[in-house]
Symmetry: C2
Subunit: 502 residues, 2 copies
């Protein structure tokens, strides 16, 4: 009883909390979580009268950071993914699939501090497993395990991160990654140029506004830091400061370098002169002529690489999309060469950030190989969840509703007791590969049937009636124009082929 009293008290308190949040208009998903807690508490009371199933009745939500996707979302998502796959296939890519979980040891040591975001499976006896965090590490594990030294593959699958993302911005704990990678020992910048071309092709196929692709080179960054007097053990941390230049002004980035990373202000200023530059071929030439920089082999190698890539980009018709940007650094540790990142330029796109990114990672596969045998790789990963949210927002703004089915013909009956006739007709339509449906009710109202056609944008309706059947005809209705014509029952399929297959 005492236990139940304290439960009642907790319910009251939790109820108050939910009401406060609601009146404070905090984001819906935060409230949902508190409501779930409230329902869970209430369920505990109910379950005391012995109805064991009432508990699960009440906790009705998806796990934190995840959501369901209904038919409208799925129509848009599948459409986007299939367009992306079309581009990957245009470039001759194969696809592979790996398990949703990996041995935990495969993932450890690959993501630095972010490892804390990995979802672990419970130890139920047996192996220690974790959900995949991205598709790149499983891909590298796959290559090493199967001793594959060259492949051009794409993989589209969900990955899992125990992050605290703002779901209103379209970021979740379960989300799609969409990767294209070229593994193999090839000549400089030829695979890179194709990745750049693919990024541009994919982004052009959607109505996302204009975009640009920033490129830089890890070796150039290293050489530049060396030239400015940064000690090599600080390359990585200074790199991550530089990476913030897309969001922060130089003064703040400099302050971080000086105050948090104890770089001398002079060195920071030297870096600042370089990393605030962006341009095209002429910038590469200018930097190649820079006496200070060109003394450092890795800076020179990086610049030569960028120069060659920019030349190839011209043959691939994407030079106007590409911008050499010395502030681009990218977070992941494993990059070893060219890195790139696509950003949208339109006004509405502000705050969307990067929409695709990738680069060369030549040493990751070697980490899985007993003899350290490396397989050089370069890849591009699309932020499809961002593409989904942008296109969804656009649909909402333009009040466009994507179709969720592809039904071409609806078979309707105008009077009662015609279900067997409907069945015979729809069977003939299916037989002839028409996407068709009819009501699952014996005697549906004609108005409701026609309304369904209009609401779901089915272009054609076949309407059958007793009188017409006797005369050997059916009514064919063009739903958008509401125009109707009688056609012979036996030539219905041909009529529809004429109308739909032209």
């Amino acid at each position: 009883m005492a236990g139940n009293d304290s439960l009642t008290k907790r319910i009251t308190e939790q109820g108050d909390k939910v009401r406060k949040l609601k009146s404070a208009k905090v984001p819906k998903d935060e409230i949902a979580e508190e409501i779930a807690k409230l329902l869970a508490l209430k369920a505990k009371v109910t379950s005391e009268d012995g109805t064991s199933s009432s508990k699960c009745k009440l906790i009705l939500k998806t796990p934190k950071g995840t959501r369901d996707y209904g038919p409208e979302h799925m129509a848009l998502r599948n459409n986007v993914l299939s367009k992306i796959v079309d581009v990957f296939k245009l470039h001759g890519a194969e696809t592979i699939d790996t398990p949703v979980f990996e041995l935990r040891d495969v993932l450890l040591g690959k993501y630095g501090e972010d490892s804390k975001l990995i979802y672990d499976l419970a130890d139920q006896g047996g192996e220690i497993l974790s959900l995949r965090y991205d598709l790149t590490v499983p891909f590298a594990r796959y290559l090493a395990m199967n001793k594959i030294s060259n492949i051009k593959r794409y993989q589209i699958a969900k990955v899992y991160r125990r992050d605290n993302p703002t779901m209103t911005k379209g970021r979740y704990r379960e989300f799609y990654q969409c990767d294209f990678d070229i593994a193999g020992r090839y000549d400089p910048m030829v695979p890179e140029a194709e990745c750049v071309r693919i990024a541009c092709e994919v982004l052009s196929r959607f109505d996302l506004g204009s975009f640009k692709l920033k490129i830089n080179h890890r070796q150039l960054l290293d050489g530049l830091f060396e030239a400015c007097g940064v000690s090599s053990d600080q390359f990585r941390t200074i790199c991550s400061s530089v990476d913030k230049l897309d969001k922060l002004p130089w003064e703040e980035v400099k302050a971080e370098m000086v105050n948090e990373k104890y770089l001398s202000p002079e060195i920071a200023d030297k870096i600042g002169v370089y990393v605030q530059q962006r341009g095209h071929k002429e910038l590469v030439d200018k930097l190649l002529a820079d006496e200070n920089l060109s003394k450092y082999q890795s800076a020179k190698d990086g610049l030569d690489g960028i120069k060659l890539l920019l030349e190839y980009c011209e043959y691939y018709n994407v030079a106007d999309k590409v911008s050499f940007d010395l502030s681009l650094a990218r977070g992941l540790d494993y990059y070893t060469g060219i890195i790139y990142e696509a950003v949208l330029c339109g006004g509405e796109a502000d705050g969307v950030g990067s929409i695709a990114g990738g680069g060369r990672y030549d040493n990751l596969v070697g980490m899985f190989d007993a003899k350290n045998k490396s397989v050089p790789c370069v890849g591009i990963s699309f932020g499809v969840e961002r593409i989904f949210s942008i296109l969804e927002a656009k649909n909402t703004a333009e009040k466009t509703k994507p179709r969720t089915t592809e039904v071409e013909v609806y078979v309707a009956s105008a009077q009662k007791n015609l279900i067997t006739e409907r069945m015979k007709i729809i069977n003939e339509l299916w037989q002839n590969d028409f996407k068709a449906e009819h009501s699952y009710k014996m005697n549906p109202k004609i108005l409701i049937q026609l309304q369904h056609c209009e609401e779901t944008s089915i272009p054609w309706a076949v309407i059958i009636g007793e009188d017409e059947l006797k005369r050997g005809v059916v009514t064919l209705r063009h739903v958008p124009s509401r125009q109707e014509e009688e056609v012979k029952r036996e030539s219905l399929v041909d009529e529809l082929k004429n109308k739909l297959r032209k």
Copy 2:
């Protein structure tokens, strides 16, 4: 040192164990596990010399019961799934997606004893989660949570079961389910008939040999048990005995009923007379005329349902595939009406068992609704993993290798230093939506390029050479016939359109 000595001892022991298993020829996956343990032990030794990454280098496997799918597997899988989706779309289905994990409470109490096979996530603070076990329970949760009372949806996704499946038979811990369900309050047997039609359409689209679809009705089984004198609390357990009739002879099933479930032999015999019958309409009529059986309302309702379904199957042209089979009982508890199961009949298909199955489940959604509001559902689920294995085995037997890319044109160079020319040509091809690739090497050997075309069944190769380029022509090679012709460089795209788009 002592620690390392005992480690050495454990390695020796584990090595012995592996050798024994190998010589005893136990299944490969069991050995693989022991090998993994051995490698893990060995890794511990290596890591003592300070190379921290060596540990993950050595455990190179996918988790137990899972596997990677390389390009050839994926080509077949995607082909199968897309054909199935075509059928679902032919019937106007929408698709939805739900998270790979659910709150554990959503899954509990839905799978009976099999609940022990559910994968749990580790408690990392926050909600208690489990991987989905099937797609039906998440679907029901989705309907209840979103208060959806009618939808026709398909969902293809992976589910997870901590089973000990024989992987050689194509059964895994991570596997695809492929479900089509109709939710909504409709008239008897209209949605059921469409599910039957869909099952037949899907199975006919693959080269699986002949198949039949057994149907039965849960209410008929209940009425039949009642009529034979089984007490209602034993319906379920007797039902599960009956379900074994597809694998065991009647005598053994009877023995189980009598010896393990303490049914009197007389009652068992009465059941035996009924459940060994199979047939079509005439059997329904015979049973409707059975005075003992027809006294029981639920038997009569079941028979009426089957009669109507068989009639509808005629209109849907699938009556010849359907067999009324009183021994079909199906495992899951949640079925409330018609149940069906497709089996292959061919000789090679022996042991494959059911390849699709489903039925009506009217009360599952209500289990998630606070007010117990039910949404009647009926669905069909395809055992796609079995379809994959059958078709893969067929490919292996016939030495058919499915193409893993769709490349139409390969751009090859016959001499050195032509990479920029190759790039210009391939760019034009991509621009015109030709699936095309070229070598990522600067100066690939012509023989290796042509060999690649033959090995991967690329139908056309464009070969460029210095002399030809000067003359404004390129060589177009038809790879299968090895016939070559010269075409003008500027009309290359049109020539290829003629050859490929006809």
